[in-house]
């Protein structure tokens, strides 16, 4: 693999940063150089959150250039559209089919874009747009918070790491009592993306 530039986006509290930490350790184990950078502090409180993950034999800038991300992993639909300009032409977008309307939408001062608008925005960058039912599957598994690991399961089909490496990294970052359900979420994610790719 020459490089994998991955932009993870979502809303503060969805577990974006933990997801990118897990990818980071999987990259090291596999022998790649990795840099990642997150939004922390004030930006985190329910706001729009991004994590830049860059994997290559040698990485310099921790920030991905606009239009050069190989993958966009969006935990929320609006956040997929907002950051779509980071995708390279022909890159892969994996989008959790779930809407968290911002406050301005609830107060009626702004409008949440329709699904067709979001798809149009993404299609301007790439035809490889995959919607997955992350929040629904996580809820079915009994814990909405495993969404991030489900999304990692989706990514895993496009990243050059062994399944065992993924599972080890996930286990390292989670307390023992949460491992089982998260590994399940990971496997569900793998299954789901195989389904929607067909």
């Amino acid at each position: 693999m020459k490089k994998l530039d991955l932009l993870i986006t979502g809303v503060g509290g969805q577990g974006v940063i933990l997801a990118s930490d897990i990818i980071g350790d999987a990259a090291i184990t596999t022998g790649y150089d990795i840099k990642k950078t997150d939004a922390l502090g004030m930006a985190q409180r329910g706001g729009s959150v991004t994590s830049n993950v860059r994997i290559a034999p040698q990485v310099r800038s921790p920030l991905i250039k606009m239009g050069e991300a190989d993958m966009l992993l969006a935990f929320e639909k609006l956040e997929a559209a907002r950051w779509s300009h980071y995708l390279r032409p022909g890159g892969i977008a994996i989008v959790n089919n779930h809407a968290l309307p911002p406050l301005s939408v609830s107060l009626g001062s702004e409008r949440y874009p329709g699904d067709d608008e979001i798809i149009n925005i993404l299609k301007q960058r790439t035809d490889r747009v995959y919607f997955v039912e992350g929040t629904r599957r996580a809820r079915e598994l009994g814990n909405v918070r495993v969404l991030n690991i489900f999304m990692l399961g989706c990514v895993s089909l496009f990243a050059p790491f062994k399944v065992q490496t993924w599972e080890d990294s996930i286990s390292q970052h989670l307390p023992p009592k949460l491992r089982q359900i998260n590994i399940e979420a990971f496997n569900q994610g793998r299954k789901e993306i195989q389904g929607v790719r067909l």
Binding site: I28, L40, G41, G46, S61, G67, P101, L107, E110
Partner: protein
């Protein structure tokens, strides 16, 4: 051993391996994780200090007494600590002392984007600048050596993008044991800065700077990377990483020590390249220092001095300056006109209720359905402070009029009152911020017979930076039980007689307390107490809205609670976000009693 570490974790590990014995800090993004990380080592002493000035003083005392010490803070934290920092620069140290200051270009989480590299020049102390986590780890060892060799505190400057990026670190050291313990040496001329002795210190400082400049010439992290000679780039910090990507073929002088500068090395490098540029974030700090040597160099003519840099911005500027040939890459369209998503107070936040009360008593906000009504003028000025609660300034709460720096709310409120404003003035400050630098403001208010109302939002933590302990929580930075500084006796001890403690989730009580405090001609204090929602162990009975009862008045939406959502037709509460019994503020406000525990409202629906 290879580890994936953030810049802050690497700085902490580097300091620990360099034998640091005392570490101090006050939380502040992007510096917080340095102390959090080093505090895990139980064989050293680590503390959350009440503020950065105290942190600096404790670290200085430790260095005097022979322990390698570390004080870390965000860029504006060094403003607070600048007095003891200058003193440390004047007296020098005994054992090594390192001060880390983390800048925030782009003001991701700060009230300004000041360039703290100027502090090195002001204090005449050496400054080191890592450009990734490996260098952060490596430079800490050198920082302590330099400190001891030159008898000076050493400033280590990082930025958000270095502190909060993770990269691979080869951890190749273990904890060093200092060769000898240098216990405190009685030395009045060195440590007692009476004017007569302070004057003696000045020539020593100037000599020290000359020696440091000589040392900088061979400093191992000032590196020349030769490429093509038509372009030479002088750079440091994360800007180096960006510049290497933008100019993969150019020659580089990469500075790990950015004050004082290696003059000969710079001259030599400049003479070997056709065109010399500086790529640096914020002010032209390197550029102006290099220009002062009589060397022709450019940089800020095409690279912005405002905001955070990234490879795109450097590339764009370089094209304008004719540094890059070829046509610019296809412009990348940004998805415009999407609804914004600013940070918010959490569902169940203990600050929401009091801000709603201030907003309504102060006639500041109106429900969405009241669009047609004439806007009343606010009769209240709310001076604010720094923490999560600053988010109360956003719509729909609109309950904050100023936010300057830590602790400023109280002094500002008094100043407004003394200026003779016709409006009532309320100062709002968090518990950690009050202990940081609000106490002196309150002493001043009492002494000068202020009439303001001070509201202390006591959520029992330092929330915005990630829930650090503080003197009011009774737990130390290393997780041990300690003495608690109680707010009520503290405030009473200062001389305030009208002190009320109010439950943050009781709207009625909040309203009546604010009303009586505003009517009291003396200075009064309201402590609004309610634990930060992130600390709440139980979330039972999420609230729901009975659609039959609800007439869409929109009052509940005025709380700005992220759990309360509207699709334009019906207001609903997201049960996965609502904290339920622990809050109930929306239920207390609803004029039609349409909000209740989910089980109850669904039972009603069934009927």
């Amino acid at each position: 051993m290879k580890k994936l570490l953030s810049g802050n974790e690497a700085l902490a590990l580097g300091a620990y391996h360099a034998g640091v014995k005392v570490a101090t800090a006050y939380p502040g993004t992007p510096s917080t994780e340095i102390l959090e990380s080093i505090a895990h080592h139980n064989d050293i002493y680590a503390e959350w200090s009440t503020n950065e000035k105290v942190a600096m003083e404790v670290a200085l005392g430790a260095a005097y007494a022979g322990a390698r010490s570390l004080a870390s803070m965000k860029q504006v934290g060094l403003n607070v600590a600048s007095d003891p920092f200058m003193a440390a620069a004047t007296t020098g140290i005994n054992a090594g002392m390192v001060v880390i200051t983390a800048g925030d270009p782009g003001a991701h989480s700060s009230q300004n984007e000041q360039d703290n590299r100027h502090y090195a020049r002001l204090a005449k102390v050496p400054m080191l600048e890592p450009s990734d986590s490996q260098e952060a780890y490596d430079l800490m060892a050198l920082a302590f050596d330099i400190s001891e060799e030159f008898d000076t505190p050493v400033l280590v400057y990082t930025t958000t993008r270095v502190s909060h990026s993770k990269s691979v670190v080869e951890v190749n050291r273990s904890r060093a044991v200092p060769a000898k313990h240098r216990d405190f040496q009685y030395d009045v001329k060195k440590y007692v800065m009476l004017p007569v002795y302070a004057r003696f210190r000045h020539p020593i400082i100037e000599e020290r700077l000359v020696k440091l400049a000589t040392y900088a010439e061979t400093f191992p992290f000032n590196k020349v990377i030769w490429g093509e000679r038509h372009l030479g780039v002088v750079t440091s910090g994360v800007a180096y990483q960006y510049a290497r990507e933008v100019f993969p073929k150019a020659s580089f002088l990469k500075l790990g020590m950015t004050y004082p500068l290696p003059r000969n090395l710079l001259r030599h490098f400049a003479a070997q390249v056709e065109r010399l540029i500086v790529v640096e974030e914020l002010d032209p700090f390197l550029q102006e220092n290099i220009q002062a040597m009589g060397i022709t160099v450019s940089g800020k003519e095409f690279i912005p001095r405002m905001g955070e840099l990234n490879p795109d911005i450097i590339e764009e500027g370089s094209r304008r300056a004719g540094l890059m040939a070829g046509t610019p890459p296809r412009p990348v369209e940004t998805a415009t006109e999407l609804p914004k998503r600013p940070p918010l107070l959490c569902p169940g936040c203990p600050h929401t209720g009091i801000f709603f009360v201030l907003s309504s008593i102060g006639q500041r906000a109106k429900p969405p359905k009241a669009k047609g009504k004439p806007t009343r003028e606010s009769n209240l000025i709310i001076t604010g402070d720094i923490g999560c609660y600053t988010l109360g300034a956003y719509p729909p709460l609109l309950a904050m009029d100023t936010c300057a720096c830590m602790g400023a709310s109280i002094g500002q409120a008094l100043g407004m009152e003394k200026a003779g404003t016709s409006k009532k003035v309320v100062a709002v400050i968090g518990d950690s911020t009050f202990l940081h630098s609000g106490i002196t403001g309150l002493v001043n208010g009492v002494y000068n017979k202020g009439q303001i109302t001070l509201i202390i939002l006591d959520n029992g933590t330092t929330a915005m930076t990630g829930h650090q302990e503080h003197p009011g929580t009774g737990i130390s930075a290393q997780g041990k039980e300690t003495r608690t500084v109680e707010l009520e006796p503290l405030v009473r001890g200062i001389g305030v007689s009208d002190v009320r403690v109010v439950d943050a989730f009781n709207i009625k009580e909040l309203r009546s307390s604010v009303r009586s405090s505003l009517n009291n001609p003396e200075l009064s204090v309201i402590i609004v107490r309610g634990a930060c929602v992130v600390h709440k162990p139980k979330r039972a009975n999420p609230r729901a809205i009975d659609a039959e009862q609800c007439n869409q008045c929109g009052i509940c939406l005025m709380l700005g609670c992220p759990a309360i959502q509207s699709d334009g037709e019906q207001v609903t509460i997201d049960a996965t976000m609502c904290v339920g019994d622990a809050c109930t503020i929306c239920q207390q406000l609803c004029p039609r009693q349409a909000i209740g525990p989910k089980s109850k409202t669904t039972a009603k629906e069934a009927k």
